[in-house]
Symmetry: C2
């Protein structure tokens, strides 16, 4: 279980992938593989939360890093590159580095 909280300095990377519906399942598999083999052992990695869109056309990875510095170090790490190149053969992606502004729960 991952947690979303405000004010803890976490860098959230929301990465939205566009994919042909026939490749959606394969894309989810590739993201799991990249996370299990490489990302989850990198310094500052907290979690990856992989979502499939109900229409089959998107996958969204909601990933958490301990800090912006950890996230930027991952981007410079050559171990991260081959996975994204492989994924780029079946999908385009739009990575959005974010911070949590507000968490609102049901009353």
């Amino acid at each position: 279980m991952s947690a979303i909280e405000k004010g803890n300095g976490v860098l959230t990377l929301i990465n939205v992938f566009d994919v042909e519906p026939s490749n959606q399942g394969r894309l989810v598999e590739l993201l799991i593989e990249a996370t299990e083999k490489t990302m989850k052992r990198m310094p500052g990695f907290i979690s990856a939360n992989i979502h499939r869109s109900l229409d089959g056309k998107r996958v969204v990875n909601y990933a958490q890093w301990r800090s912006r510095a950890d996230f930027e170090a991952m981007l410079r790490d050559p171990k991260a590159t081959p996975h994204m190149q492989h994924i780029g053969t079946i999908a385009t992606f739009d990575p959005i580095p974010c911070e949590v502004s507000e968490v609102i729960m049901a009353v």
Copy 2:
């Protein structure tokens, strides 16, 4: 604190807003207002988690509903419409209904 889990039937709506950086703060305020005044009292609402992108150009609302049926009932509820019309005057949005495929934590 919100939780992300697999296999609980939750409908996740990931809504990506494009906005002028000068309006990003205002958009976050409008989303908080819409959630506090209306959404959080609707049946099946679990949480709204509002994120600001570090480049100022996006806002992402990661919202959770108990089920797809609750989410679709909200879409049909006339109370939900005015908020999104107001927000539409300063931003465009791309709502992505999803389910969680996988949650992977650091080792």
